[in-house]
């Protein structure tokens, strides 16, 4: 029988994969995608828990999260574009003028 626990474990795994992705990838776009993955893992958690709790609130939350994720992508891409205009093919690691 499926319990919320399975969903929780799955979403935790997905979340971790996303997190590792952010840490290991240098391409900003891929990093954004990983963040999206993490957000979706959270969505999965919400749904799983809402299901377990038999409560609609969690499921509603997911919609808010999806909107936020969309907005985030817009902002992120805008910044990437602004940077790409000034230097070509920048990876996350190239941005290290500011340090120390």
């Amino acid at each position: 029988m499926l319990t919320p626990t399975y969903y929780l474990v799955l979403s935790a795994l997905v979340f971790s994969i996303g997190a590792v992705g952010v840490l290991v990838r240098r391409n900003p776009l891929v990093m954004f995608m990983c963040v999206e993955l993490m957000l979706n893992a959270v969505n999965l958690t919400f749904i799983g828990l809402a299901w377990g709790l038999n409560d609609i609130g969690g499921q509603v939350s997911v919609f808010f999260v999806m909107v936020v994720a969309a907005a985030e992508v817009v902002v992120g891409l805008a910044i990437v574009v602004a940077i790409m205009r000034r230097r070509d093919g920048a990876t996350a690691d190239d941005l290290s003028v500011l340090r120390g």
Binding site: I56, V68, V97
Partner: protein
């Protein structure tokens, strides 16, 4: 159960008067954006005045609300999602003031840097709206929305200076890390939801008060992840690493807002969620916050002393300030909350004042923040130097400035709650911090000006910020009772009903 709810679902009642401050900000921002897209040649002074006026509206409505609060007591609206209490109103004033001051600073800045346009002001207003939403939020999801509104505007603000690669790098870093940490925060919300069955703070508090959790793994994990997200927002160690880079790279007026407004909003959430809502599990989260506070204080102070760039140094010092405010959080008491509020209020003004001075001193290109450039300022620009001295004294916690009372208050709160060792770390961090500010003072007053020292002018709007900040800093430093009364009354009250 779901069905039952669905059947009886009703539009929640909305008390618009309570939402007035955030409406002033949001609508003000959107209106001016619309206006400029219709009529291209709206003068810059009008835009700035509009932005400041919107903030003024928010502040005035807050004052009205405060009096209303005195008569009617705290309440909540929008189905309990928005909490109306002294706490939220007080922070609204802080955030709105921060936005207003940042706007005033931005006015000459944009002109000098050739970045004319309405965007910065609009984004500031929207970000401020998000902050106010956070302050008012009585629901984790509402809080999350406020946070994202606030953050996304700030990501863009940080990258606002088109001709400075540092600015874009700052925006990029802030965005990546901000989005990353938001996921943790959200995950935490989800877990708390799972543990308590609600995202509403009133219900969560009620749930925790009425139930003894046998299995509290979900709740504690949720709190842990929530702390990650919030600690990131306020720039607490070890989640602080974005702060120096972003403060360094972002346009100086924006830094003023980040250090005052964003920080205030972040602490609003910490105080409301941790100190109030989760006060029943203090034994679990207080040690964690203690360690975070101590680390923040230590890392902030230590890194700051080896900086050669004043702006970057102040970024680190703002980390250490976050550590101090944390003391108010971890006290998890009314005294702690009001001390933290006092701190946030006075800090908003003095950091804006400091950044106002840096806005002027940075020169065209927003680049020149070396200690050498400050040399002999006391002789070259005595008034500016005097104002900056007051702010630095306040940051150092010298008596008869607001900064001292603020530090005293949070440390008192920590001692009151018997968190002695963090308090000890804090006072030593204050000593190390004092050294930082002395370093700047030495440059300004005790060293001769360099030959090629730039001549600087104080634009009117910056002058207004400087003067306001000096007055606030000294007034509440010498007569702290004036503000203290408000801060003591501005407590979190998680109440249902109108």
């Amino acid at each position: 159960m779901i069905l039952a709810q669905a059947q009886t679902i009703a539009a929640p009642s909305v008390d618009v008067s309570i939402l007035l401050p955030m409406l002033f900000m949001a609508v003000g921002g959107l209106l001016i954006l619309t206006m400029t897209s219709i009529k291209k040649d709206i003068p810059a002074w009008f835009i700035t005045s509009w932005a400041v006026g919107s903030c003024g509206g928010a502040i005035i409505s807050s004052i009205v609300l405060w009096n209303q609060l005195g008569n009617d007591g705290a309440s909540s609206t929008v189905a309990g999602a928005v909490g109306f209490d002294g706490f939220s109103v007080f922070l609204t004033v802080v955030i709105a003031s921060a936005v207003a001051m940042a706007s005033l600073l931005a006015h000459p800045y944009l002109e000098r840097e050739g970045l004319e346009g309405v965007e910065l002001h609009v984004l500031l207003l929207l970000s401020g709206t998000g902050g106010i939403v956070m302050a008012f939020s009585n629901d984790l999801i509402v809080f999350f929305l406020g946070l994202e509104t606030l953050s996304m505007a700030v990501y863009v603000l940080a990258a606002m200076h088109r001709r400075r690669i540092q600015s874009q790098e700052a925006g990029m870093k802030y965005f990546v890390l901000g989005a990353f940490s938001s996921t943790f925060l959200l995950y935490g919300i989800a877990l708390i939801y799972g543990a308590t069955g609600s995202t509403n703070l009133i219900e969560i508090q009620g749930f925790l008060a009425n139930n003894l959790l046998v299995e509290d793994g979900l709740l504690l994990g949720g709190i842990a992840l929530l702390i990650v997200g919030l600690a990131f927002k306020v720039g607490a160690a070890p989640f602080h690493s974005w702060t120096p880079d972003v403060y360094d790279g972002a346009p100086t007026p924006v830094v003023a807002y980040m250090a005052s407004g964003v920080k205030a909003a972040g602490f609003a959430a910490l105080l409301r969620i941790l100190s109030s809502t989760f006060s029943s599990v203090v034994d679990d989260w207080v040690p964690a916050i203690e360690v975070i506070a101590a680390l923040t204080l230590i890392i902030g102070s230590l890194s700051a002393i080896v900086q050669t760039n004043v702006k970057r140094m102040l970024a680190y010092s703002s980390i250490s300030h976050a550590g101090f405010i944390m003391l108010g959080v971890l006290a998890a008491s009314d005294r702690g909350t009001s001390a933290a509020l006092f701190y946030l209020f006075t800090y908003a003004f003095l950091v804006s004042g400091t950044m106002a001075a840096l806005t002027i001193l940075g020169g065209k290109g927003d680049n020149d923040f070396s200690f050498e450039s400050m040399q002999g300022l006391g002789r070259r620009k005595p008034i500016l130097a005097f104002a900056l001295m007051i702010f630095l004294f306040a940051q150092a916690g010298i008596p008869f400035t607001s900064g001292f009372v603020a530090k005293f208050g949070v440390i008192a709160a920590a001692v009151d709650s018997e968190n002695y060792w963090v308090a000890i770390v804090a006072v030593f961090a204050a000593v190390v911090g004092a050294f930082l500010y002395l370093k700047v003072l030495v440059s300004m007053f005790l060293q001769e000006p360099q030959d090629n020292a730039r001549d600087v002018e104080i634009p009117g709007s910056v002058g207004v910020v400087l003067a306001t900040a000096v007055v606030v800093t000294l007034l509440f430093g010498i007569f702290p009772g004036l503000l203290d009364g408000f801060a003591t009354d501005a407590l979190v009250e998680l109440t249902t009903g109108q």
